[in-house]
């Protein structure tokens, strides 16, 4: 017998229909198309027919290998020095038009290290920019998730009091959340400006000119940090509200019982508040992690991935490839990789924070 929902509830289906179609068209279909395209050579606009290319997009993105080289020696067998360092054979001679190592064709140096001795190990990647994007994204997540969650919890504890005008503080902390991230990014570009930005002026004023102006977004060593700070500030209010709702589910009598037993403020937090926030903490951690992996708008508005690829991120690369370079298949492959990363991390987080019985 057919369910009541499919037969007699035509009005219901008619009402749900537009939303179902839109979700199918703009969420579900693209999700599966991304998987499909990632195994083809599809381009955004191309006269050529789409071909199935197997794992080649993934090999191109994820190809990493190591190459250990001995330093160049002169006729007497001594190491040739250049600027005080041993000189190594040029990588180009090995990775380009080299019939001996066809597997290294097109790879570039990502980074290198030395394990003692004269020889040096080079890590080569087929797509160095993507590798940098992956590393940057992980740095961003690893810093933003704990710092943002912690700050949001601190704010939530502060505003979870019965004080006059406490709603003003709640509103102020929440305000950045309701402003579009694009607008926020534009504003912060002004704040971070290398010449007369607000931050440089402020630092100059409080240090009486001792701190010289810094080009926060133009310097590879400060650009990612600047974006991290601004991103934490922007969304901290949102997570504060989630923490606050968690705090308010804890029964006030538990706090009274703890007060009578003589618990200090820290002990109350340690034994009552924090255990009571366990489920909220899991939720917040997963939400922040997923949002942080999706870092794009700030990059697009503030740095475009620069300087020197120091702020490349996975999503920025996906969009840059898919639309900037019209390489839909490459962008799709990046999206799929991101999906797998986020899914695995969420599953691991859930497993780590599971209720132990």
């Amino acid at each position: 017998m057919a369910s009541k929902f499919t037969v007699s509830n035509r009005t219901g289906w008619l009402m749900a229909g537009p939303a179902v179609l839109l979700i199918a068209g703009f969420v579900i279909l693209p999700f599966f198309l991304a998987f499909y395209f990632s195994f083809t050579n599809q381009r955004l606009v191309s006269p050529n027919a789409t071909e199935f290319v197997g794992m080649s997009n993934y090999r191109q993105l994820l190809g990493v290998t190591t190459l250990t080289l001995d330093p160049v020696r002169d006729d007497s067998g001594a190491v040739v020095m250049k600027d005080g360092e041993p000189e190594y054979p040029s990588l180009r001679t090995i990775t380009r038009n080299n019939p001996d190592r066809p597997d290294l064709a097109g790879m570039r140096e990502w980074f290198s290290f030395s394990l003692g001795g004269d020889s040096k190990t080079f890590v080569l990647a087929r797509d160095v920019v993507f590798m940098k994007a992956v590393v940057n994204t992980f740095i961003f997540v690893l810093i933003v998730a704990p710092v943002q969650a912690g700050l949001a919890l601190g704010l939530a504890l502060l505003i979870n009091q019965r004080l006059k005008g406490i709603n003003v503080f709640r509103a102020i902390y929440f305000m950045p959340v309701v402003v579009s991230i694009v607008v926020v990014s534009l504003l912060w570009r002004l704040i971070y400006d290398g010449q007369s930005g607000l931050l440089n002026n402020l630092l100059g004023a409080i240090s009486f000119g001792l701190i010289p102006p810094i080009d926060w977004l133009g310097n590879p060593s400060t650009a990612l940090g600047s974006i991290i700070a601004m991103s934490i500030w922007q969304a901290v209010g949102f997570h504060m509200v989630i923490w606050l709702s968690g705090l308010q589910t804890i029964s006030p009598t538990l706090y009274e019982a703890a007060a009578i037993e003589g618990a200090s403020k820290w002990q109350v937090f340690r034994y009552i508040t924090w255990p009571g926030l366990r489920n909220t903490a899991v939720l917040i951690l997963i939400v922040i992690t997923m949002q942080a992996f999706g870092l794009f708008a700030q990059i697009d508005v503030m740095t475009n991935g620069g300087p020197l690829d120091s702020t490349q991120t996975i999503v920025f690369q996906a969009i840059e490839r898919g639309y900037g370079k019209q390489d839909i298949s490459g962008g799709s492959a990046i999206s799929v990789i991101l999906f797998i990363i986020v899914l695995s991390i969420s599953l691991i987080q859930r497993w780590l924070t599971r209720e132990k019985t």
Binding site: S251, L254, E256, A257, A259, I260, E261, G262, Y271, P275
Partner: protein, 354 residues
């Protein structure tokens, strides 16, 4: 030791006066019950003693110390809450040991004291369970265990049995009574249940609208209520009140009657009464007896409830007012039949009309 003294204690929330000047003295080791209807301020008063609510004015002394401005932890009190307030994420053992953990006691000390509390409350087998695996009565034991493990000077109970079913409530009531004998500590117990008050208390404080109605031993309050409120609040079924007219005054005795009541001389100690005054005569249903052919009260049977050991009879008096009689045996009455009731004039109470 732990004498508790409240002197003209008041509590207001803005213009709302919740406790309107309360004086209570509780001796060391005494079991004191605050009883009264919902909203009478009894829980607020207990929370003020615990330190969970500020005292607006007056003085609260525990032992030799004025504790008005001390935080709860420095008052030497332990409290058992109506909702138990046991920590959901801790095992029973951790819950009971909580106060000791907080004060940094050693593991050996904790184990020993928890074991002792568990023995007293017969919950050794529950120690490793979590609160979600416990029944209501077991949770209440845990809450009491947490209170006794620190050996406080004063125990405060805030309606601890009201979330339990009737049978369990009686068991736990007896256990709390035994616990008081075992520990010998001062206990203050808040309840709206007069049975708990009567059975547990050394001293009952009857409260109404933030004021003390009467303080005394349970039987003193039962046999000699100071006012209509106390008279009607204690005892089940509750006291009958008849409107009577004063016919004569003779020293301490007053002669009263009404349309259903033959003239009877009763004590006038709650007076003064003058001839012609309206007054209220209180008769406990238990002190009425059937007197065929004679008796002082006359009416017809409206309803009977036979409970085996006693029979509760609702009588419609000759003047139309209802009266309840609780007869101490199994008796059969036909509804609508004439009935004559008698009582001992020394066991009734005459109250002035206020």
């Amino acid at each position: 030791m732990a004498r508790i003294s409240l002197k003209n204690v008041k509590k207001s929330y803005g213009a709302t006066h919740v406790i309107k000047g309360v004086d209570i003295e509780i001796e060391d080791g005494e079991f004191c019950v605050f009883v009264g209807p919902s909203g009478c301020g009894k829980s607020t008063l207990l929370r003020m003693i615990a330190g969970l609510e500020d005292i607006t004015s007056g003085q609260l002394q525990i032992g030799e110390t004025v504790v008005n401005d001390l935080p709860p932890k420095d008052r030497g009190v332990a409290m058992v809450f109506q909702s138990y307030a046991i920590f959901p994420h801790m095992t029973v053992r951790e819950n009971v040991a909580f106060g000791l953990t907080i004060s940094g006691a050693s593991k050996e000390e904790k184990d020993a004291k928890v074991a002792e509390a568990a023995r007293i409350l017969q919950m050794e087998h529950l120690l490793d369970r979590r609160p979600s695996q416990l029944s209501g009565g077991q949770r209440q034991r845990v809450a009491i265990g947490r209170a006794i493990v620190r050996k406080p000077q004063v125990f405060l109970f805030d309606e601890p049995l009201s979330n339990l079913d009737a049978a369990l409530r009686m068991d736990m009531r007896m256990e709390i009574g035994k616990l008081h004998q075992q520990l010998g500590a001062t206990m203050i117990y808040v309840t709206h249940d007069q049975v708990e008050a009567m059975t547990l208390a050394d001293k009952i404080v009857v409260l109404k609208d933030g004021q003390v109605m009467q303080i005394g031993a349970p039987m003193d309050l039962y046999h000699d209520p100071a006012n209509l409120f106390v008279a009607g609040f204690l005892g089940a079924p509750s006291m009958n009140f008849l409107k009577v007219t004063v016919q004569g005054v003779n020293g301490g005795k007053v002669l009263v009657s009404n349309g259903a009541l033959d003239p009877v001389e009763v004590s006038g100690k709650r007076g003064p009464f003058r001839v012609g005054d309206q007054a209220i005569l209180g008769l406990r249903p238990q002190y009425l007896s059937v007197a065929p052919g004679s008796g002082k009260l006359h009416g017809t049977v409206a309803l009977t409830e036979r409970l085996g050991a006693e029979t509760v009879v609702e009588v419609t008096l000759k003047d139309g007012n209802p009266l309840i009689a609780a007869l101490a045996h199994d008796a059969v009455f036909d509804v609508g039949s004439q009935v004559h009731l008698d009582f001992d004039p020394d066991r009734v109470h005459l109250f002035p009309v206020t």
